[in-house]
């Protein structure tokens, strides 16, 4: 198992390294000249040359990549054209909001997926209606879910807030950066409750599509496994359907669903970018959304690297969980 984890971690490192190479390459082919972008159109030729030298743009390609990597290792992601601050500083301040939103969205997606799959496998009452609703919901673009949610739950019913992470003026900071957790840690449950109310709509809007995808895979995997020979054996022993499903079938079915979860996190991130923009969520998604019209490549590249690394991390965890679920997977 340790060997497997080491292998997966090494593979993850390689992938992240490849991503940095892609980002570097994209920066090079980008028609937006970083020097012009930084200095503006009225800069003097001498200033441009000096800036080019300062940025090391006169050096050979590989050497530039080397110093780019070196910079990344020291947390240097370049300067944002738009905010004129180091991208790393921007990301540092926006990351916790996105992390909290994503984690909740993933949790919601998994809960909905399990309800969806188990419901139709064990034939819970109402599961087919629930399923139809979710499938329709999963065909809606995240931005539609977001704005319809605002129309109904904010504008019409006034149940939930429509913008930001919290309406508390000075929310507690640290240690986790998750307001729902920090509120509890600082003994202010009202903050937690308020943050959760803010989270609910955006997180569900992000979660809908992954929930249905994961639920579908889990469901068809459950149905497939229910036909397996070992289920016949379990039934022949006189186990109840519940014991058969929970004791035997579920564990054999999770791997396909885990794979799909890993894949869906990638799609979820694009949902996060859109939803943060709609809900004014102060995260790296909104940061990216606002960087796009400004053609702020360092910012976009920074967010991409961060989300890419997060995606790789999630999938590494998925791989390890799969090996735990199925003893036949090894190394």
């Amino acid at each position: 198992m340790i060997q497997l984890i080491a292998k997966r971690l090494a593979a993850a490192a390689v992938i992240v390294l490849a991503l940095t190479a892609v980002m570097f390459f994209l920066q090079k082919i980008s028609p937006v000249d970083p020097v012009h972008a930084m200095l503006g159109p009225s800069a003097s030729p001498a200033a441009i040359v000096a800036e080019q030298k300062r940025l090391g743009l006169d050096r050979p390609f590989l050497a530039q990549y080397g110093s780019y990597l070196n910079g990344l290792l020291h947390g240097n992601l370049g300067m944002s054209y738009r905010t004129r601050r180091p991208v790393s500083t921007d990301l540092g301040s926006f990351l916790p909001a996105t992390a909290e939103l994503s984690v909740y969205a993933l949790i919601f997606a998994l809960i909905l997926a399990v309800i969806l799959a188990l419901g139709s496998t064990l034939r819970w009452p109402g599961s087919s209606v629930f399923r139809l609703l979710l499938i329709a919901g999963a065909s809606a673009p995240a931005f539609l879910l977001g704005i319809v949610g605002i129309l109904i739950f904010y504008s019409k019913l006034g149940w939930l807030p429509a913008t930001g992470r919290t309406s508390v003026l000075n929310p507690p900071t640290g240690p986790t950066g998750f307001l729902t957790i920090d509120g509890l840690l600082h003994g202010e449950p009202s903050v937690t409750f308020d943050a959760f109310r803010h989270l609910l709509m955006p997180a569900l809007a992000v979660a809908a599509i992954p929930a249905v995808s994961i639920g579908r895979v889990l469901r068809s995997s459950l149905i497939g496994q229910m036909r397996a020979d070992y289920v016949r054996t379990a039934r022949a022993k006189g186990l109840t359907e519940r014991q058969v499903v929970l004791g035997h079938v579920l564990r054999n079915s999770v791997n396909a669903a885990l794979s799909m979860t890993g894949l869906q996190v990638g799609l979820m991130f694009s949902g996060v970018v859109v939803i943060e923009e709609i809900f004014g969520w102060p995260g790296i998604g909104q940061y990216m959304a606002q960087s796009i019209p400004a053609a702020d490549f360092p910012a976009i590249s920074g967010v991409t690297l961060l989300l890419g690394a997060g995606y790789v991390a999630v999938n590494t965890i998925v791989d390890i969980l799969q090996a735990i679920a199925d003893p036949r997977i090894n190394a």
């Binding site: 994209l26 673009p141 539609l144 704005i147 129309l151 990638g266 949902g271 053609a295």
Partner: protein, 289 residues
């Protein structure tokens, strides 16, 4: 070794063999679902005929609610007909999705076929590259690619196509490897078939159903992803009718004239829903497993 009867009484009874799925009773619903693909494509093709007005020009009073003034879906902030814009937006969304799928099938299928057929080092190298792409969050990387290329519709399509093929390469390669392990490939080898012949005649046709099923289930995803990119401003520039962008630009009217941002979103949803239902139908028709 396995002489015994199968546990479930013949799932493929002899008389059903060879009868095309389309003729079977339970297949009709799936056929209807799959034919949604044709219907959607027809609407997309005929959008210029179906659209009652010019989508770019103001044609009436601004901000008319749906149904009033003869505008079925209302008018937007400068008096353009939302229905016409939605129809044209449908058209570009749909064809963009089909184009990306087609390129994914083509590039991914080819790479998967080559890797799966050759095996060995070629397989390892090609699949490592593919896995590298798959290990990255495709839509996010697509955003970065467009940002680097500099916006625009064509660039967006290229960017999405670049991150979309690896999935197909994986699927096709996996199918080919499964097929390659079957004795029929060895039998063909002994019958004197060369590598190319085996690849094209004895392997590829077997991978087509899986690839087509994947593709048809994927159209909906792609419609949604392209709409999201359009929402972020990575589509055609204004004033072109674009479903995602039309929502994004009109968010300010959400609380007063809700239909202006919501209608394009609903159009995306209908498109994706049709694609998903059709995809399910195609899977049931071709999958047959």
């Amino acid at each position: 070794m396995a002489v015994a009867e199968p546990y479930i009484a013949p799932a493929t009874p002899p008389a059903r063999r060879g009868r095309p799925a389309i003729l079977r009773a339970h297949g009709r619903l799936d056929v209807a679902a799959a034919s949604l693909l044709v219907l959607v494509t027809l609407i997309a093709l005929l959008a210029p005929v179906l659209a009652p007005h010019n989508p770019i020009q103001p044609v009436g009073l601004p901000m008319q609610s749906p149904g009033s003034g003869g505008f079925l879906l209302g008018t937007d902030s400068i008096g353009r007909d939302i229905l016409s814009r939605v129809l044209f937006g449908w058209r570009s969304s749909w064809f963009a999705a089909l184009a990306v799928i087609a390129s994914g099938l083509l590039i991914g299928g080819l790479i998967g076929l080559v890797a799966g057929t050759l095996g060995g080092v070629a397989d390892t190298v090609l699949m490592r590259i593919t896995d590298g792409f798959l290990a990255l969050p495709a839509p996010v990387v697509a955003i970065a690619v467009v940002a680097a290329l500099g916006g625009g519709f064509v660039h967006t399509l290229i960017a999405v196509a670049v991150v979309w093929w690896p999935f197909y390469a994986r699927i096709v390669r996996g199918e080919i490897r499964l097929l390659a392990a079957r004795p029929h490939v060895e039998a063909a080898r002994l019958a004197g078939a060369g590598r190319l012949r085996i690849a094209v005649r004895h392997l590829l046709p077997g991978a087509v159903p899986a690839a087509v099923i994947t593709a048809s289930l994927d159209v909906g995803n792609l419609v949604l992803t392209l709409a999201a990119l359009s929402f972020l401003g990575l589509g055609q520039p204004q004033p072109a009718p674009e479903l995602g962008a039309d929502t994004a630009h009109n968010l300010t009217y959400l609380l007063q004239q809700w239909w202006i941002p919501v209608m394009p979103g609903i159009a995306v949803m209908v498109l994706a829903l049709a694609a998903n239902i059709a995809g399910d139908g195609v899977r049931n028709l071709l999958g047959d497993r």
